[in-house]
Amino acid sequence: MSERLVVIGNGMAGIRAVENVLQCNPDLFEITIIGDENYPAYNRILLSEVLEKQMDWPDIITNNEAWYDENNVRLINHDPAVAIDRTQQLVTTASGQVVPYDQLVLATGSYPFVLPVPGHTLTNVVAFRTINDGKYMQRLAQQGASIAVIGGGLLGLEAAAGLVDQGASVSVIELAPWLMATQLDETAAKLLQKDLEARGLKFYLGAQTKSILGDESGKVKGLQFDNGEVIDVQMVVMSLGIRPETAIAKAAGLKVDRGIQVDDFMRTSDSRIYAIGECMEHAGACIGTVAPSYVQAKIVADVLCGEPTEPFREVQETIELKVPGIDLISAGHIKENDQVKSIIAMDEVNNAYKRIFVKDGIVCGEILYGDVSDGNRYFGMIKHQEDIQEYQATALLYNGQADDGNDVASMPLDEIVCGCNGVTKGTILDAIREKDLTSVEGVGKATRAGTSCGKCKPVIEALLKLELGDKAEGMHEVMCDCTTLSYEAIIKAIKENHWLTSAEVRAGLNWLNPDGCDKCRPAINYYLNMLFPGEHKEEVSARWANERYLANIQNDGTFSVIPRMIAGRTTPEQLIKIAKVAEKFHVPMIKVVNASRIGLYGIRKEDLPKVWHELDMDSGEAYEKTAIREIKTCVGKDWCRFGNINTETLAEKLDVAFAGIDTPHKVKLGITACPRNCSEVLTKDFGVIGIDGGYQLYIGGNNGTQVVAASLLDVVETEDEIMTYFGAYLQWYREHGHYGERTFKVVQRAGVDNVIAMLKDESQRNAYLERGEIAKKAYRDYRNGLEPWQARLQDETTLKALYTVVDITGRTVKEGQ
């Protein structure tokens, strides 16, 4: 009979140890994992990305239930271990289950330190540590709550940034005089603070919390500082670091100081019991990051399986803040003293700061803010204890090469690319060659690189490009879990096989889930429309509510109707029509929306066709996630004393020519008559600025969860040239965008210089334009030349299927028989 291995803790260290054991020998142990939380194993590092809505909860699950079944691992979940009987070799859980072991691994992790001030037990005082904490915070944030985050360290700031993005107003309270005080110096911290303040965070530095104030129901209502000042908050998030979770080990009589004491091979004071990850203490040091946990998980697996292994030694790491748009790196020793001196460079033009710490001529630490492209180079120097006495300071600060952060060609083979999993450039290149990998996901599966915090994915992508050239381009994103194919491979197959229904595509490409999922269904419907306009029949069931019902769904399940109002211009007749409909249908809310149109809110689904009929106006596709949404314009030179161009005729031309065409995601345009830029066109997918004698054209701007400034495409003299450029650009986006991806991402992926060069090349531009014209015609034919609402009103089958609500109140079985 095989030995029984029990792992207490289903977190990142525990699950990694089990994976390593299985990889070494799947039949050696009968394995049981005992977990506390109500989820299968997940990637805790990515919790803040979920909070920021960059990812969704299911995306961070690393091992789903099926994984445990397939690998014969018994999971006792949501039932924490409460006692270890070392003489009988038994573990007891909270529910009373008794689990015998031959070998026991403790991976109990840590718990967040809670500031023991009055009020710390109130409801709404949480530590951001688990999925449940995150969900709770997200819900409150989305209600626009005021939240105090105590602790201006890495995790506190990631949580605070995520909460602001979700709609909360957030105050960060930090005892130290600046943020991330253990990783940053004052200069870098001030730059960070300024950037975070610009995102809406508020800071109280050098501030001590005296108490948390509650209301009668025991909920948080405020927070009081030592100086007596009180701020109103509805929630307090404590992010003050972690303490090793040692209770069960202590009770069992194992040697525990700060953490559970282990030797170089992770053995505790009991030779059958090991401890790894945040719960252990090795040579007086505890850990709080994933990279050393993984090293320990490998050591313990090797020891258990009888494989040779290296003793555990401190792991050098870089610290990076995972907040989109903020780049900072800190590594090594970053405090100056008698022996440690530093070289500083401050680039105030680009808001970039570098500080390299040197001890006895050897690089020992780095702080980078704003421009982190050299982070890996310095980190290599720190790890290799590189002697830099020969360097000029400027040569150290600037490597003289292209500053794109992806200078992977010159990177040494033994340089670590994925710090979390300790994967080098050499290992990744070997895997790409030996296993014919073409995608970041593939590299992740083969080497684990990029699968933990994910920050190194761009480097992996650059390595793929380096190794495969064009073969790697765009090959990296798999459409969804139903397939292993990339978007590009799927689009190519649809085109070659001339498939005309989603079902054919799924069958033809051996979809794992024959019905498809919510990610691929709308995507394939789009690609079929794009590739075979007019031939593919729109599949309404593959559409999300807005595009299905041709109206925006609201939070109470009613819809809004926002008729077309080109360039925000309206007439008395239109206003009277809108007013009459609003009165007749008792519309509870009429609003001039941001896109210069009038919205009628609170209309029941079954009333939509009647409202459209009475309004007798065009749909402006305001509901579409996948079409041209708005063309925001200023009044232009007809009225404005500064205007250089006529904005409204141009907007009308563009609107009439391109309205109603399917795109991978929404497309917003802006036209402004002078460089004062009243229409804010520099953050639009396509922007036009009128200048004296012509037009500046901009592409790839964005103003959503990420703000991206648009890039100048060209300066032209006529409206016709604008129509040509935009038509080609739109068709390029339609063909190359991954469904659900805004233009800025596609432009970034392809390289903005490449896109501009392509659009300026007449033959390429004309080829896109021509395919775009075919699509435009097909869309019009498909709806018999009607705009979407009028076309829907004439399509009785769809009308009946979508806008019917059956009322059976008082109905009995007899009816209908």
Binding site: N38, Y39, D56, W57, P58, N132, K135, N513, D515, G516, C517, D518, R521, P522, V540, S541, A542, R543, W544, A545, R548, Y549, I553, N555, D556, G557, K605, K800, A801, L802, T804, V805, V806, D807, I808, T809, R811, T812, V813, K814, E815, G816, Q817
Partner: protein, 103 residues
Amino acid sequence: MTQKVYIAEVADLPLKMGLEVKNGAESIAVFKLSDTEIYAIGNICPHAGGPLADGMVSGKEVICPLHSLHLNLVTGQPITEDDLEDVPVYETAIEAGKFYIMV
């Protein structure tokens, strides 16, 4: 006491989409996955009250149109959140091309 109530002709139910059925204050979402496989569950999403009948169907799940909570059409169970109530599940019957719900 529950009784069997006629809803609609099976052929008239939209395929792989929801149909909203009102019964007094009660709101029910009906999903036809095929002519022999039709489910009826409560229409109100337990997360924030979204109308599930307007959601997208994926396999045997429906995804709420408001915040993308996934629910199991067969059991009424929320899948992507664990601390929410199930929605009610209604017994259904298909007889001679007609669709009924027990309410």
